[in-house]
Symmetry: C2
Subunit: 508 residues, 2 copies
């Protein structure tokens, strides 16, 4: 590389007032235009592997580039490779909500750029997080036992998987502490611990179990059935646990779900938490997607029984107008987390430790990493800007659109809704054409339908396979999605199904 | 709560063009004013515990609040509780660099708000990450074996602790795979695995070991000495490993550091990686802080020997003008990560899997979580906006300021630089007054000096204790710090030392 140029030495200021006052405005306009034009782009990117790695120079520029040129690069080279999660035609996976208030929150937290690992490192970051977690607790009508005013408390993690990892480690530590080490070799105990979930539980749970070192043979995946709407069956669970106990294994952790990823099934929390209690297990409730809906009184019943759980998490970064990364976790006993995750190095000792160390929360002891972003800022901005009324209206609007889409499907006998809709995700397929259709044929047909719809670029949906049935999932919840987009989707579904069913008839 | 008001139903659009085009400008101006006034605030917040939790209403607002009122709240209630990591008087911990380019990058990634867990979910997010990781690899002159063009590759994690967790799990899986399971009970093997670090290694490493389930008795912390500048001594390490092997234990992982947190010590990588190789261990090099300096040819020698490592990480979110969260990890064999962390659920299957699954990177298999922010965007913005020349100038400026501060200390016999400065962090103290001063007296005096300096609110520094010596750390590297701030610090150090030493003389 060339030798170091003298020219920049004098003037280079990476937070210079002039640039900072000017350049962000260009990016705001750029993004406003992006949202304005977003329907012109194919929802799911249609580039080929290598589209960018082969385009970009293989070394960073030596000299600074002007912002205008960089934004041109974003427009020409990066946007074509984006799968547009903010598009109103995005119905895939679960949505990832953006919003103006969240955007402002991200601006503020990036601007302050604090690293609030402990209270003193930035008191506002810690205390605002406590405030928003208590606000959400009220909004979700979570039991008081999860509140800081009791022995519990809440923390913002980056992802559900982080919440799994932290609660698994806490559960293990608690179990090890319970057993007198003189009586039992803790090493053997560790390899005898068993965790439980259903075949509908998010795969992150098995990954988290693997990460924390649970014996891979000790992860029990209880099968669910369509006839029970893919809920975890308490009796089936009980049978598995009892067999483990008889074999000398130690039940550790039960993972329950409100709103599973494949079909948004809801496990019966009350009775399952009772089972967990009976065997002195940690019971975690993962409501990553559906938790947001439960801020509306009419959907709160889906959380009934959560009072029996040891911990509960949901992701505002899916459906509560807050961007990644924002997973909210509450525990009933905050000392469970800190006993397993606390560290107290000299460098981080607060000076007035005698005065305040007992009173303050050091969030580094509630999570994996030391460093943490000021994530409460964006959640606070969202709640202040939209209010409870706005947030509920936002959720209800999507549920209404999903009801509408479901009603359209019910009216057309060629389709079937495979599992009952609980929230704003509809799981449907083209129904078997006749008694003689094999399940493979029907699956192939529906896979073709999905490919054909996604191929248009106007919409993007994903699928699930449950009890060998290929299901098309329509997750309605992108911030920009309106009823007209759902109607457009319905027109497309009919048109593409017509084409497929027509050709099918010709083939057969 | 009141019943749901009808009024908002019609007009509420959380990404409405009008708000999105208008409101961010207010926040830009708000932050520009914050930077302009930042020196007026005490660097370390002086609020008391409960300052915010007791102020904020205990429920979220029901109705939306106007942005102007929210920003007023930020000004009046939140800013007083912020410890100002962006202040030019911030010399604590290690700095957390903000910059305009990073800010623009965060705006873009928040605006797109993609969730790029696998290639298809947003090809640009994956490929831009590959591009910037290859750029950085070149900039750091990392060996080609860490490149995607060989068997290696790089990924952006949220924190060093995440990199520790992922590489520990990968190392364990690799070790388990190496051993024929029929010959050996893998359960016992798991509890026999041993990890190694020094007493200067970041405490996150021990936390990560605990999280992944390493037997707590099998974490070896090798003592370092001031006489060896707190480097990990290869012979001391060798002795510990040999004792473990004799005891039937299995060496798994060695954690090395370039730029330790207490004193920025640099472990001798070459010879230590040789030791790791001899015992078939994973060798990780953590250069969280100092890695950024190594983009300058004159500091690159600190990484000599890294070619012997299995993995390497550093944090642009400390000293490379990029905000949290941005930890860059490279591995020599990318299949080590994916064999331990890959998941392949039906929902995420790429449609054209036959066509491209072999060619693409699915970053979910390189990290803990499924979801991931488009973090490469901010790193790319920083590298494009400042160029290699700007980034090097930025590093050199801090190192020059640290040299300057060190020279001032050298000239005044009352002070001593406790360990040689390697980068831009100076570790000093008031030297023992006489032969008869006990170490406790000297430590007490220096603790008082630090408290007295921090108490002014004009600067914020933290301390370390090494070989029972209390050391004041001056980490020079905040984006806004200029030579005049270092001179101000020096004036303050002298003045406060005068006061302390004067009163000390009166006391004795």
């Amino acid at each position: 590389m060339a030798s170091f140029p003298v020219a920049t030495t004098e003037f280079f200021n990476p937070l210079g007032h002039e640039e900072f006052r000017k350049q962000p405005h260009l990016v705001v306009d750029f993004l406003a235009d992006y949202y304005k034009n977003i329907e012109k782009y194919p929802v799911c990117s249609q580039v080929k592997p290598g589209f960018l790695t082969e385009t970009m120079l293989d070394s960073p520029p030596f000299q600074p580039q002007p912002l205008e040129a960089i934004l041109q690069d974003v427009q020409n080279h990066i946007i074509p490779g984006i799968t547009h999660w903010q598009s109103p035609g995005f119905f895939a996976y679960f949505q990832s909500n953006g919003s103006t208030a969240n955007f402002l929150g991200e601006m503020l937290l990036t601007g302050f750029n604090t690293v609030g690992f402990n209270w003193l490192a930035s008191p506002a970051a810690t205390e605002l997080e406590i405030v928003v977690m208590e606000w959400l607790l009220k909004l979700l009508q979570l039991p008081k036992s999860f509140s800081f005013s009791s022995e519990g408390g809440g923390v913002i993690h980056g992802s559900t998987c982080e919440s799994f990892v932290c609660t698994l480690v806490s559960a293990r530590q608690k179990k090890l502490n319970q057993i007198d080490s003189s009586k039992r070799d803790s090493t053997n105990l560790g390899s005898n611990l068993v965790v439980y979930c259903s075949d509908q539980t998010h795969f992150s749970f098995q990954k988290a179990s693997q990460i924390v070192g649970i014996n891979p043979n000790n992860v029990r995946v209880v099968q669910t059935t369509k006839s029970m709407n893919f809920q975890l069956c308490p009796n089936a669970l009980l049978k598995v646990i009892k067999a483990d106990v008889r074999a000398g294994l130690v039940p550790l952790y039960l993972c329950l779900t409100v709103g599973t990823t494949p079909t948004t099934a809801v496990d019966p929390l009350g009775i399952l938490c009772e089972v967990a209690k009976q065997f002195d297990m940690w019971a975690h409730v993962d409501a990553a997607y559906a938790g947001s809906a439960c801020i509306c009184p009419e959907f709160r019943h889906f959380l009934d029984g959560v009072e029996g759980a040891t911990s509960f998490s949901f992701n505002p970064h899916k459906w509560l107008l807050t961007s990644l990364d924002c997973c909210c976790l509450w525990v009933k006993d905050r000392s469970d987390l800190t006993k397993a995750l606390a560290t107290d190095p000299e460098l981080l000792k607060n000076y007035n430790e005698n005065e305040c160390s007992k009173q303050v929360v050091d969030y580094k002891d509630w999570q994996i990493a030391l460093s943490r972003r000021f994530r409460s800022m964006k959640l606070w901005m969202v709640m202040k800007s939209y209010g409870v009324s706005g947030l509920r209206e936002f959720i209800r609007r999507h549920v209404k659109m999903a009801q509408h889409f479901e009603a359209l499907l019910f009216r057309d006998k060629r389709f079937e809704v495979v599992v009952p809709r609980n929230f704003a995700t509809v799981c449907f397929r083209i129904a078997p054409l006749s008694e003689s259709s094999t399940e493979e044929d029907v699956n192939r047909l529906n896979k073709k339908l999905l490919e054909s719809l996604n191929g248009t670029g106007d919409v993007y949906m994903t699928h699930a396979v449950v009890e060998n049935i290929f299901v098309i999932r329509v997750a309605i919840g992108a911030t920009l999605t309106e009823e007209k987009h759902v109607n457009m989707l319905w027109d497309m579904v009919q048109k593409h199904a017509n084409a497929l069913l027509g050709s099918q008839e010709l083939e057969s």
